[in-house]
Amino acid sequence: MDYLTEQTEREATVRMSGRLTFNDHAKMRALIKELMLNKAKQQTIELSRLEFVDSAGIGMLLIAREELANSDKQLVLRAAGGQVKRVFTVAQIDKLITIQD
C-alpha cells in the first residue's frame, strides 16, 4: 500500500493505492499518527486506486476511525471500487464509517 497526503485548512485527503493488507500495519500506523496530528477536522481517504483490502485492512481502517473520533475528528472513505467496494458492502462498513461515492 502507498499513500500521498494533501492538506487544506478544513480537510486532509489521503490518496491510497495498491493493496491494503496485514503487511502494511506499520505503515498504516504511521498514517494514523499523521492524521491525528494535522489540524483539519475532516480526514478523507480516497480509495479509487486501491485494488484490494483484506480483513486485517478493514480492522485497521476501523482503528483509524476510532482514534480520529477520540480526537474529535471525522474519517471519511471515498470512491471505493471493485473488491474494496464489495467488501465494504458485505461487511456493512457504512454503518461504522462515513462512506462516500
Partner: protein
Amino acid sequence: MDMIRLGRRRTAKGNDSLPGEPAAQAGVGQPASGPGPAAESASQHHADGDAHSGQDVSGRALLERWIGFSHLQQRTLEGLRFELGRVSDLVENSTLDISGRFRDLAEVAREQTRRVEEIAVLAQAIEIDGEPIPLEQVVNSMQELISEMINNIVYLSTKAMTMVYLLDDVQREVVDLEKSIGEIDAINRQTNFLALNATIEANRAGDAGRTFAVVANEVRNLSRTTSDLAVRMRGKVTSVVKGVRKGHDILRQIANTDMSPQMLAKERVDKTMDCLVQQTHHFQRVLEGAAATSGEMSGNISTLVTRMQFQDLTKQMLEHARDSLEVIGVGAGELAEETKGVLPAGAEVSVPQEWLDHLLGRFTLSDVRQRFVRHLLLEGTALDDQGALDTTAISQDSAGGDVELF
C-alpha cells in the same frame, strides 16, 4: 285395378325396382321370380270391363299376393321391433359403460387436484425440526446469521490489529527496559569501584578510618546484592521478551489470515437465496394453474356425464317406434286373416321371394341379416336367447327357399 307402387322408381328394365311387379303371366299361386320386367303392360290391368269371372280370378290372385306380402310385412315389422330393441339396449349399455368410465376419470382428476394443491402448500414452507417454516422466513434468518458472522469477523479483525499494535508498543518498552537494566549494571560497577577505593583509603588512615572502612564495606555488599538483583531482573525480562515475541508472532498469523473471501461469500449466498425464493413463487404460480386445469377437467367431465342423459330420450323414442311397429304389425295381421277368410279354400299363399331377397340383400351387418332371416322365414322360433341364429333349427326348416345364409 290399380297396382300399388311400393316406394322406388322403376327403370325400363326394372332393375332398381322393387321386385314383385306383378308378372301377369306368372299366374296365381306361383312365387314371383326375379325382378320382373317392369312393363306396364305386364300387369293385371284389367281396367276395362273384363268378364266377372276374370275379375274374380285376378282379384283373388291379387289378394293372395297381398296376403303373402302381408305376412312378410308382419315378420319384417317384428324383426324391426327386435332390432330396435337391440339398438336401445346397445345404446343403454354403452352409455352406462361410458358414464362409468367418465366418473372414474373425474375421480382421478379430483385426486390430481388434491395432490397439486398439497404440493403448492408444501412448496411454500420448509419443515425444520418438525415445524413448517415459511420460505421467506428461512431465507431471512439465514441471511441474518451470515451478517452476524461477518460482523464478528470484522470485530475480530479490528481487535487483532489493535493487539498487534499493543504488542508492538510492549516490545518497544521492553527494549527500553533492557537498556535501563544495563544502566543499573553500569551504575553498580561504578559504585563498587568507588567503594573499593574508599576501603583502600580507609585502611591507609589506620584507626581513624576504621568506621569509614565499615561503611565502605557495607556499600560493597549492597553493590553485590544489587548486581544479583540486576541479573535476576535481566533473566525475567528475557523471559518476558521471549513470551511477548512468541505471542506477537502468533497474533500476526491470526491477523494475517485474510477473511475477505469468506465475507464476499455472502454475495453468493444472497443471490442464491433470491433465486430460491423466486423459483418457489414460480412453482406456486404453475401449481395454481395446474390445480385450476384439473378442476376444469372435473367440471367438463361432470357436464359430459349429464349430456349422456340423451340415452334416456333415445330409449323412449325407440320405444315409441317399436310400439308403432307393433300396432301396424298387428293391424296387418288382422287384415290378412280377414282377407284369407274371403278367399276360397285351396288358395296358396307364398312368400314373395324377390321382396325377401331384396330386403336381405341390403343388410351389411351379417348378424343383423341372420336375425332377420330367422324372423322372416322361421317366424322367430329358431333364435336362441341372444337373438342369434340357432343353426340346427334352421337346417330343419325348409320353408326358407333359396335365401342364402352367410
